[in-house]
């Protein structure tokens, strides 16, 4: 299997106005930097982005908020982005806030052919409004639906031509789950290696979930909160 494309521009071929995208990452950690730049350059608009966070004002998904390409965000936490908060409070941006665990599980479910599942998260809160509630083991649970996307954009550490991916440290986060849930999943990697170089026992995302892969460049990997201790 050879799923390699030349660059981010080729990798996003087929994105259209109004589509739904998933984007991996937690804060700025493990985000698909190259794909986000290419999406900005493509000027695709009215998009729905499913991503745990919304970047910061001038990096990550903040770049697509600046250009107002995003119609709707589906996230669990957006506290690091002032422009986001401004657009949300003014009503320019639709926002669906989802408990982080439900977001992760809904993406996995979308990729796994599980259309719906019950979770205790959000019971008794506005998150559960309009949703079915049912008791299991004496405890109320909310029915949550799977999420899928027209494109999923993920970022891995290494990947091979067949689309097998491995992630580094906490840059893993939502990436493997969103990779499962994209109709077309685009993986950008820091290092593209030949098939056979990654140990089959330690693949995080099997290639079956990836349709296109490319080696990204100029990774900035910005740190949001540099915290250190003194020696």
């Amino acid at each position: 299997m050879n799923k390699v494309v030349g660059n981010a521009q080729e990798a996003i071929q087929g994105v259209k106005d109004g589509m739904t995208f998933m984007l991996g990452g937690f804060g700025l950690c493990g985000i698909p930097e190259n794909a986000i730049s290419a999406l900005r350059d493509s000027a695709v608009k009215n998009i729905t982005c499913i991503s745990n966070n919304a970047g910061v004002d001038d990096f990550g998904l903040g770049l697509l908020l600046q250009t107002k390409q995003i119609k709707k965000m589906v996230s669990s936490y957006v506290g690091e982005n002032d422009e986001f908060e401004r657009q949300m409070l003014s009503g320019e941006l639709e926002v669906d806030l989802i408990p982080q665990g439900s977001l992760a599980e809904r993406c996995r479910a979308g990729g796994a052919g599980i259309p719906a599942f019950f979770t205790p998260a959000g019971y008794g809160t506005e998150v559960a409004e309009g949703k079915e509630v049912r008791d299991f083991n004496g405890k109320p649970h909310v029915l949550e639906l799977a999420l899928t996307a027209d494109f999923a954009f993920v970022k891995a550490w290494k990947g091979d031509r067949a689309g097998n991916l491995i992630f580094k440290s906490t840059a893993r986060n939502f990436n493997p789950l969103m990779a499962m849930a994209g109709k077309i999943t685009v993986a950008e990697v820091e290092e593209l290696v030949p098939e056979g170089e990654l140990d089959p026992n330690f693949i995080h995302t099997p290639g079956i979930f990836v349709q296109r892969i490319f080696e990204g460049k100029n990774y900035e990997k910005r740190i949001e909160q540099k915290t250190v201790r003194s020696r």
Partner: protein, 218 residues
Amino acid sequence: MLGKKEIAQRIAQELQNGWYVNLGIGIPTLVANFVPAGITVEFQSENGILGMGPFPFDGEEDADLINAGKQTVTLQAGASIFDSATSFAMIRGQHVQLTVLGAMEVAENGDIANWKIPGRMVKGMGGAMDLVASAENIIVAMMHTNKKGESKLLKQCSLPLTGVGCVTKVVTNLAVMEIKDGAFHLLERAPGVSVDEIKAATEGSLIVDGDIPEMTFD
């Protein structure tokens, strides 16, 4: 009256050997600095770490290794990394023995509100709703009153809820309280703080049963 550090220090006394613990952003994060000698706990960070260690030395920080507060961290020997679905499987499946988190309001029935001020603050709930809906042992770490001096321990939460009837204990700058049977039960006073001061700062039902000892710190 306790500072933030002392609140964390007091909460650390609740830790038991072998526990897995999830610490929220703010005061809860500080709890990791006060693990009592002789016990081993592992800290879970919901972005995908078990066995989180201290902050890195300057120059050794790794953009790919952060905690749920987006701070650079390190790993301890025996740590593991996993994806967000597995992380919340641990949380939802009650494999984490203790959750410590902050709050804007706590009600006498154990309700908690900490994610939204309608029309003003809309940062999102992050993992808090999953944590409070799942954990069997939830300690809230917060100031007893807000900046205007109003009690944060209420008969009923006024803000949108994060979870219902879930908080088991509250540790504030003034007191340690257990929540049961629809009331705050005063367990300990901060050094130099009187029961009356705690009563005055608590809007919700406060049960004071017998002599209330002062907290002790080693």
